[in-house]
């Protein structure tokens, strides 16, 4: 099987869907001639031309809105927002238009719109360029959110997003772009929102998503050396969430740890802890525990940036504490 980087996998997915369906087109800043800021659209401008790979001005709200209008008129636009940080300018188009039009129109209009945006904390990009927006987007009825953590998922979930008749946000991660992994283009993909048990274990359940799922796996490796077997679940998406897979694991292990890159307050972890506490109260041996970023904008200083974002060692330490206090 071939090995691809995350960005190459996204590139293949775009290429495959563009080849299969003429109504698919891409738009965003520097996606065309320049080949994409993170190379994701490399080669597509030459292959599909400037109408289907459209370089836009810096007008996020309006070009995302253009995607909404084109979707209503029968196209399958793929909007690239250069990074999640600039999606703040397009929230009107995303939240008030894309998410609500199918509902407001009484189901007359579908919203076959894909909005890709790499997010997360990269390296010292400062407070305005290190946004983690899952808090905000998760809360919006009418959106679907996928959070691929591996090249294979990037390939599968982007293709599924483009084929979806609902608006799908593909929340990528800047630090995953050069990660490599196997990508099989022939096997059938699991449903886009199916959570995946990335590692089986019986001592505790660690639930995570996006890059933090990989960090949780690394932490599980450290824990295994100490005889602690963590089950690691990668949610693969944040709206909807595959609660059945999560609940089955919590019922098996009785202990729940959630690892998220976004800050703790009113975040994804809060929703996961609350719902699983409701569903699995009888099986839980302790209150769910969260490892999350500190409730601060990202400082530019390198050490502080690392201090505020959970590292594998932080996840392992939390897991140890949870086990030691409850065994």
């Amino acid at each position: 099987m071939q090995t691809l980087t995350y960005w190459q996998a996204l590139n293949r997915a775009l290429d495959a869907e563009m080849a299969a369906d003429d109504s698919v087109f891409i738009l965003g800043e520097d996606v065309g001639l320049y080949g994409g800021t993170y190379r994701v659209t490399e080669g597509l401008y030459a292959k599909y031309g400037e109408r289907r790979v459209l370089d836009t001005p810096i007008s996020e709200n309006s070009f995302t809105g253009l995607g909404v209008g084109a979707a209503m008129a029968g196209m399958r636009p793929v909007v690239e927002i250069m990074t999640v940080n600039f999606a703040l300018l397009a929230l009107d188009a995303i939240i008030d238009m894309a998410a609500k039009i199918p509902f407001m129109s009484g189901g007359q209009f579908a919203m076959p719109l894909t909005i890709r945006m790499p997010g997360g904390t990269a390296h010292q990009l400062g407070a305005q360029h290190s946004q983690r927006l899952e808090h905000t987007l998760m809360n919006v009825a009418g959106l679907r959110i996928v959070t691929p953590a591996t090249p294979q998922d990037a390939y599968w979930q982007l293709r599924q997003a483009i084929r979806s008749d609902d608006c799908v946000i593909v929340l990528e991660h800047e630090l995953l772009n050069f990660d490599q992994g196997p990508v099989d283009e022939t096997i059938e993909a699991p449903p886009p929102h199916r959570a995946m048990v990335r590692r089986e274990g019986s001592d505790l359940t660690v639930i995570s998503y996006s890059r933090m799922a990989n960090q949780a796996l690394a932490a599980a490796g450290q824990l295994a050396a100490e005889g602690i077997e963590a089950e690691v679940i990668d949610l693969r998406g944040l709206r909807p969430i595959d609660w059945d897979t999560c609940a089955a694991s919590v019922e098996k292990t009785g202990l729940l740890l959630i690892a998220e890159e976004d800050s703790r307050f009113a975040g994804a972890g809060a929703e996961i802890a609350a719902t699983l506490a409701e569903r699995c109260f009888a099986s839980l041996r302790a209150a769910p525990m969260r490892v999350a970023a500190l409730d601060l904008p990202n400082p530019y200083n390198k050490r502080l940036e690392q201090d505020i974002i959970p590292q594998p060692a932080d996840i392992a330490a939390a897991a140890r504490a949870l086990i030691n206090e409850n065994s």
């Binding site: 800043e29 001005p57 307050f265 601060l296």
Partner: protein, 350 residues
């Protein structure tokens, strides 16, 4: 232009160029992180505009703002330390290269989200207007930034309420890799201002003197309470968009043509010859005025020497700033938490 002003311009342009070149080196050494957007090629704009500003004016800038900060009068030490993420940086290590702030110099910040400078600028201008002071706000932005909706929204409000703001477009013809004719239907940025009855003109940004003259004129109007003005300066960045962009999408002949127009080379070329007066020469014990005068004319040594001295001073300033940045301590997490509320009284609930 008189010699003194000319030398001041030359000095700041050289400081700007050398500082940025050094920052590029420090970036490759790993002392500076994140995105680093450099300014070489565009120095005449910062120098011409900011030498026309008064200390009471407010400056709002983008992520390509190190030179704006420097020419505004912020210390190179504080700028370098910020780029190094240190406690003595102008934003205490919290902001970084794209977010230089300095209240004392009324430098209202570098903003990394394209288009954010306009609303901040009209807000500061509204405050100035309410207080009835003869102050102005200078708002920098790039050619790519004029396609953000808040450009139009802010120009409209500025004109509607006659706000004292000077909009300064640094048109370097590119929005990262997208050339202006591919991002804007009308490539003359200044023409957009007429929709709001804002006087505007396009001026070369490769000549500090012209930049300065036009800025002084525009600021006169702004300070008089007649409303906003807009200046578009045509310029070019010699490097890529940031340190992570090689800039290879730009044709070599285009780059070469703009390099031939280098604003610093222009400053050097136009530098008026300056000779010591007779009394100075006599005091120095030189044979005859005529003789040294002739020799100076022939070989231009006086200027070359002066220039070398200037360069040496600038080198020393940069070494000092870098050493300062290296030695400055790392900020702590407690400090970071403290800055979230700027020290105002608050209740800690979580």
């Amino acid at each position: 232009m008189d010699r003194e002003l000319h030398i001041r311009f030359l000095r700041d342009m050289l400081r700007a160029r050398r500082m940025e070149e050094r920052f590029a080196q420090e970036y490759t050494r790993g002392n500076i992180g994140g995105f680093l957007h450099l300014y070489p090629g565009e120095e005449a704009v910062a120098v011409g505009v900011l030498h026309a500003a008064e200390p009471g004016d407010y400056i709002v800038s983008t992520y390509r703002e190190h030179v704006h900060a420097l020419v505004r009068g912020m210390s190179m030490r504080a700028i370098a330390a910020e780029l190094f993420g240190k406690r003595d940086g102008c934003s205490r290590g919290m902001g970084g290269s794209m977010h230089l702030f300095d209240a004392a110099h009324r430098f209202l910040g570098g903003y990394a989200i394209v288009g954010e400078t306009y609303p901040v600028a009209i807000g500061a201008a509204y405050a100035v207007m309410m207080r009835g002071l003869p102050e102005a706000v200078i708002c920098f932005f790039g050619d790519g930034a004029v396609n953000q909706g808040n450009f139009h929204e802010s120009l409209n409000m500025a004109a509607l309420w006659k706000l004292p703001v000077l909009f300064v477009c640094e048109n370097n013809h590119y929005q990262i890799g997208t050339e202006i004719h591919r991002h804007s239907a009308v490539t003359e940025v200044y023409k957009r201002a007429c929709a709001y009855n804002i006087p505007a003109e396009r001026v070369t940004g490769m000549d500090a003197e012209q930049v300065h003259t036009h800025t002084l004129d525009a600021l006169k109007r702004v300070r008089a309470g007649l409303g906003p003005a807009l200046l578009e300066f045509e310029t070019y960045r010699y490097r890529g968009h940031s340190m992570s962009d090689p800039g290879s999408y730009r044709p070599q002949p285009e780059l070469k043509a703009w390099e031939a127009d280098d604003p610093i080379a222009a400053e050097l070329r136009d530098l008026p010859m300056h000779y010591p007066d007779a009394d100075t020469l006599k005091a120095a014990g030189i044979d005859t005025t005529e003789d040294i005068g002739h020799r100076a004319i022939e070989n231009g040594h006086l200027d070359t020497h002066g220039l070398e001295k200037l360069e040496a001073e600038i080198r020393a300033e940069i070494e000092d700033a870098i050493a300062f940045a290296l030695a400055s301590p790392e900020p702590t997490l407690d400090e970071a938490k403290g800055y979230l509320t700027a020290g105002l009284i608050h209740e800690t609930l979580i």
